[in-house]
Symmetry: C2
Subunit: 405 residues, 2 copies
């Protein structure tokens, strides 16, 4: 049995991130569909036609219905399926509803948006927000609106559609165990008996990611639930081998895990950031409900700010400099004392590209943690550019706090 595979295509290339494409890929993966690629494509017929998945695949396309992107999608899929474009009454009604909701009649030029390949199925998960699907032999296409968000179309229509395909073809389920604190080579050694052993029911591989390392588990099954049963014992064994270095699975980010532990223990957190400039606070407040544990932070970029906002002694700055363990510890102590929070995290370092010295080159970072009356710090030396150094600094700060909780 060849398992169900999918490709996710976002039409309209831009250098910004593609959170909807990532959300679709994650939902398909959880349904047991192997997602082989994600692409950002120009609104160009040749480029989109080339990006469609092959003959037995499901391709999900995210595109606005209007504008040239919508026209390109309709024409390319009609050609791929060998179908004519015909007026789809259900699509027309959904579009009329969209305009009715803003008290305007459907413009004549918007009627072309209701021309879909013959045989297309229109889904209307939310009034005025149509999506559609088209099957052609073993190949399938789903078109989701990009602008309005993919929420309801994804859960109410795409996931059941994907599960129906899995029922006919079998699932290939992937779980990603997320780790922090150990390198890829070290984890490969620790997991040696699991790597490259598909005979044990699951394929295990070590994947270096951004500031952390992932351990990927993958198993086939008749359904996602069936594959999950095969993965569960492997996950338990691998997680045991990873120990405290493993902090979560799939969408469980480090900030989410830290947030859960703080909330569960009723603890509050305040942060003092220098070189990360707000990224730590940003990550902590990306978690919905963060006001339950996060009350404040300070971005003490300059030395005067470190003294005024955190009470870092001038003596510490003079004797050790702002990029030092004593400064990181004084920052952590200062934010806890001044905020009254239970925990304090502090980061100071050289993010680059300038500011490095032979003794403290670019990538030198100190993280301070104040918790339970004690203050500790760690010294890191990160590789990569400014963005990478900032990211890894917050990663290690969150991991220090996680281990302390």
């Amino acid at each position: 049995m060849t398992p169900a595979v999918a490709h996710v295509v976002t039409v309209g290339m831009d250098p910004a991130a593609d959170p909807e494409g990532a959300a679709v890929a994650a939902a398909l993966g959880a349904a047991g569909v192997l997602v082989l690629s994600r692409a950002l494509v120009e609104d160009d017929e040749g480029a989109l036609a080339h990006a469609l998945g092959p003959d037995d695949a499901l391709t999900v396309i995210l595109a606005g219905a209007g504008g040239s992107a919508g026209d390109v999608v309709r024409r390319v899929l009609a050609r791929a399926a060998g179908a004519r474009l015909v007026l789809n009454e259900r699509m027309l009604a959904a579009l009329e509803e969209r305009y009715r909701r803003v008290d305007r009649p459907l413009p004549r030029r918007a009627e072309r948006l209701a021309l879909l390949p013959q045989g297309a199925t229109v889904w209307v998960p939310a009034p005025g927000e149509p999506a559609w699907a088209l099957e052609s032999g073993a190949r399938a296409f789903v078109v989701l609106p990009r602008d309005g968000g993919v929420g309801a179309a994804l859960t109410e229509h795409l996931v059941p559609f994907a599960r129906a395909r899995v029922a006919g073809r079998g699932a290939l389920l992937t779980w990603t165990l997320r780790t922090a604190g150990a390198g890829a080579a070290e984890l490969e050694e620790r997991l040696a008996e699991w790597l490259g052993q598909p005979a044990r029911g699951a394929e295990v591989s070590v994947v270096p990611a951004d500031g952390e390392v992932w351990v990927r588990l993958r198993a086939p099954g008749a359904s996602a639930e069936d594959a999950a049963q095969a993965l569960a014992p492997v996950e338990a064994a691998v997680a045991a081998a990873l120990g405290a270095d493993c902090y979560g699975r799939d969408a469980e980010t480090l900030e989410l895990v830290v947030a859960r532990r703080l909330l569960a223990r009723g603890l509050t957190l305040a942060v003092a950031e220098s070189c990360t400039g707000g990224l730590l606070g940003h990550r902590l407040t990306n978690v919905p409900g963060s006001s339950g544990y996060f009350e404040r932070g300070v971005l003490a970029y300059g030395n005067r700010a470190k003294q005024e906002l955190l009470g870092v002694p001038e003596e510490v700055l003079r004797a050790h400099g702002a990029v030092s363990a004593p400064c990181a510890e004084a920052m952590a102590r200062g934010i806890v004392e001044r905020s009254g929070s239970a925990c304090g995290l502090a980061i100071t370092g050289v993010a680059g590209p300038d500011g490095g010295t032979p003794a403290k080159p670019v990538g030198t970072v100190f993280v301070g943690l104040a918790h339970g009356g004690a203050v500790t710090s760690r010294h890191f030396r990160f590789a990569g550019d400014r963005a990478r150094v900032k990211w890894q600094s917050t990663q290690m700060a969150l991991d220090m706090l996680r281990r302390a909780l």
Copy 2:
């Protein structure tokens, strides 16, 4: 003449961003190559083979040389070019150098990394960091190391390689004018005479992006420089029609433009963030050299922090609430007075998904600006989820400051 086109493929799919892929696409675009798609692909032979650009395209592949991704790339490209895998002496020497630099001999199992398709050209932009290229008829492939960063390989080898292809095929150059403050429909009206008029030498289109709107200009030419000459007058005319809503081109982000203006005028900036939780400070400190204008910020998430760190009067919080124009203005005034900075930006709002009320629904945001002795504020109502609301809030805050400078 069919202009040079390219596809960028990053092997090893992960939900994190793909900054190297974006950097490669930007460099190719500036060289006059039309980049039709960017893809993240599983390290799977079938998936990578399907993701390769068609017969006349350049495909740039970012992949680590080691691990299964490297093997997949070598095998797929050998098959695509109809070439055998042979030991490449230059590649072997580069790999030996890599190990020599860490005082280790090349392991036997690493020798397979030097098996490249016959006819491949190896580039060594930095000791021990080889890249390679392969041409097969009109089709070309370039493989760049993903882990070590793409810096030198990109500027010293890929860009000249791309320019040589453009010399034989012609360029298609794209410039993106970035705007903030006006909607896509409004800009389409203002640019009506330019849209869909390729006869005037350049194709102009309006592209909604994340929290801003882009106006894309595209023109063909014998070379990138030639196309740039055709674009220059169109850019001047379109920029004049956009007026103050246009703030930059291509990689000129709002934070970069604000940073330049602050530095040029010798002004400093401090921020007070509530619902954005650090994202504004993070963006401002993503610009290298940000210590020249950014000295501090406070993340006043809770009401107590707003009072203690910014001196927001309890009266304001009681009468208007934390999500209000008076609070945003008090925050901006507070951060300027306490920091002594020339400018202060403050953001307070409801990022969601919880916390909304009928009077102040999710997406309600107030931005305060203190500058030159005056304090102003603006009220926004953003659509989308928590991440979108945070992003758009910082976007509008930066734009308010830009217009004030």
